[in-house]
Amino acid sequence: MGILEGIGQGFSVALDPTNLLYVFIGVLIGTVIGVLPGLGPTATIALLLPITYEIEPVTAVILLAGIYYGSMYGGTITSVLLQLPGEAASVVTTFDGYQMAKQGRAGPALGIAAIGSWVGGTVSVIGLVLLAPPLADLAVEFGSQEYVALTALGILLVTYLGTRHPVKSLSMAALGLLLATVGQDLITGTNRFTFGSISLFDGFDFVAVAMGLFGVGEILYNVEKTEKAQALKSKISNIWPSRKDLRDSSGAIARGSVMGFFIGVLPGGGGVISSLASYATEKRRAKDPTRFGKGAIEGVAGPETANNASSTSAFIPLLTLGIPPNVVLALIFGALLIQGITPGPQLIDQQPEIFWGVIASMAIGNLMLLILNIPLVGFFVQLLRVRAGILAAFALLVTMAGVFSVNNDIFDMWVVLVFGVIGWLMKKTGFEPGPLVLAFVLGAILESNFRRSMLISGGEFSTFFTRPMSGTLFALMALVIIWSTVQGIRRRRRRSRPSTPGEEDLAATGTTAEPEGTPGAENTDDTEGATTGAPRDGSGSTGATGSTASGAQDGGPGPDRG
């Protein structure tokens, strides 16, 4: 099928009234949960996963994708107005966005973020259209060795890059891999760790685990915190950026689109890393870097563009290889599996309506968001007044009913509750559920492909290094390990001597950012990042508001900054 034909089919799917409605619901929910600091896209998608079971596969993905990129828009609003990132990828926006709001320029900050997000999203959709089909053709050639390399790389990047504590992340990833071994051995058919329970023959249900760790864990964690209504301090007037603003940010938006697109494709990439990378780039390129942290519009435009671009391009590895690059996509992977669809290189050929329909819906959804965001900013901010307790009770109810409906198995409800408590404890102790869940999903792929490689090669380990593609990927992994080790040493050295404030700060945020979709971190770490980041980076006058926000958010013991 040609690209034009595909796009035509895609729009005919996406413009179907049902799908149109679901795009709208998706981006609306996305914006709302983007605004609410407690609930990130991961938790929301985890909670809504069972509902997708009742609707058409393409509609399900359209809805979930809408939530994902919608949250990228929503997260901006509170970052700018309250210095409170609604979700992890908007942390950097607090640096300059809140400063702009303090200077009475909240409107242009939000306007440019919406425009940038739209451009980023649209560029990414075009990239997806051009890149995914040839990549899928290439992916058919991928053997089990390449899948081993790709999944290993994914787990490595998620645990190594962009986390505060590689050791903690690594231990969580190991736990995820271990949990993935429960159930029937895929190669020999014998049961492992089932303790005679029929319910465990097929292993832990991914939906139940994800809903427990992200959904219930999140709910429990939020309930624990004291509720505090957030007051909007800045007035929003004139949302349209001036001509000068547009001129200043056009470069940042262009660079952010491209950077976001490529970072989103990487396993372990996604919104957080792409927005940080964009901010760092803009700051480095600026004629006068000291403006950053004091309300530079490029500092809002670039990262907001990049995080939205990456949330779209992250669909490429899922739809062409069947490998989810981050946790949110792992959940969408789960949604497709529930529907009996295994995403892989053949998806574009065999279910073109899903691939093209979802792409077309993204183009439509991004446009909806642009229209939705600009006039309704004031309304969305009011959402912060909804009491967390009410939200939590309903969310829990929906979770339990939802998880039961997937397999009609009561056992899964216990799994949710047990993993909910585990998730809550993990969050309190600074362990991240993200690497665990991603490793849980990738673990099964990794193990079965590893053993398949062994079967096909007759037990030769060299098969992983002699095949050109898997060999390259393993070399890349070695580079990642060496690079991050060197970086770690350099940072430690730099910390021991007096540092230039700006550089140091970026380096610190760069490495402390949480990977995509770790809701646990979305509150504590990010608000902390914002409070420590912004003042040090700039004027230092934001301390008061910053720490109030942080105080309201920060329930558990703050992760140490070692």
């Binding site: 619901i25 009742e54 058919g189 097929d202 007044r385 309903f394 409906s405 397999n407």
Partner: protein
Amino acid sequence: MRISAGLAGVALIGLVAACGGEDGGGGTAAEGGGGGDASSYPTESIRMIVPYGAGGPTDLTTRTVGACIEEELGQTVVVENLPGGSGALATTELVAAEPDGYTLSLVTAGTMVLTPLANEVGYTKDDITPVGVMTEVPSVLAVGENSPYATAEDFFAAVEAQPGTVTVGTPGASTPQAIELQRLAEEHGVQVTAVPFNGNAEMTTALLGGNVDAVLINASSDVVQNIESGAFVPLVASPEERLSWLPDTPTFTELGYDGLTLSGSTFGLAGPAGLPDDVVSTLEDTLQTCLDKPEVQQTLGEEYVLEEFAGAEELGGVLDRTQEVYEPILG
């Protein structure tokens, strides 16, 4: 401000509640009640269990047949998916139900023979009453279009020349296809390396990418499409006689591999053990009527509905034969 905040809250809650309501409907199970006069069967709704998730071929088969039974017998048929435990969850539910004809289930050689032999599940094939065969999906041994093996003879010649070097994908470790390859080795001395995948989609990709030499795969509609497009070349078919829609493809039996006829999937309909004879014959007749209908055949896939109806006795026979063959291998 307060009012709009309240409204926002209500809207959000309404949304959540609406979403919650949507999935509630699918899961409600009608309780198959006890009692009821057998001669007037059925007097209440019938529950049909599918031991696999929604959306697959088993689900499609049960729902299509269920809708027709509902029409024929004038009672609601509630189809319920109970996936998990390689079919053991659903089958446990079936064997524990009252044998009154109000709880039925889709059964396969996998759920009724393979799973109980390989695991401690607390039931055997004798704990059910067979009703009849709904559909039968054969297996084919297929290679990619650029394969060096153009015919079954080429393939087996290559395998015998270098035992263990030719790789053949199967849909999973404990599937009839995997056991068939094991029997090929043990009973006929033909050694291939079996590579278990997870379902048809993965196997198809592996074959198209040239990462396995061949696959022994359920010829479900996706595979039929690939055969028609020429991407798959079928070398051998699993049934005893040639398939009417693949007249040029020989069977294992023809090629001298006697007894290798069990890699296809038979989707049967069954109730708990001790189902009264008149209930069985009512259901058997209804099933036969349904499978004769052109619209039912079309939904199920004409190639999967047996040309000659196979009733309770035949389904029982398939399960018995499978048990006999598998027991020494797995027992």
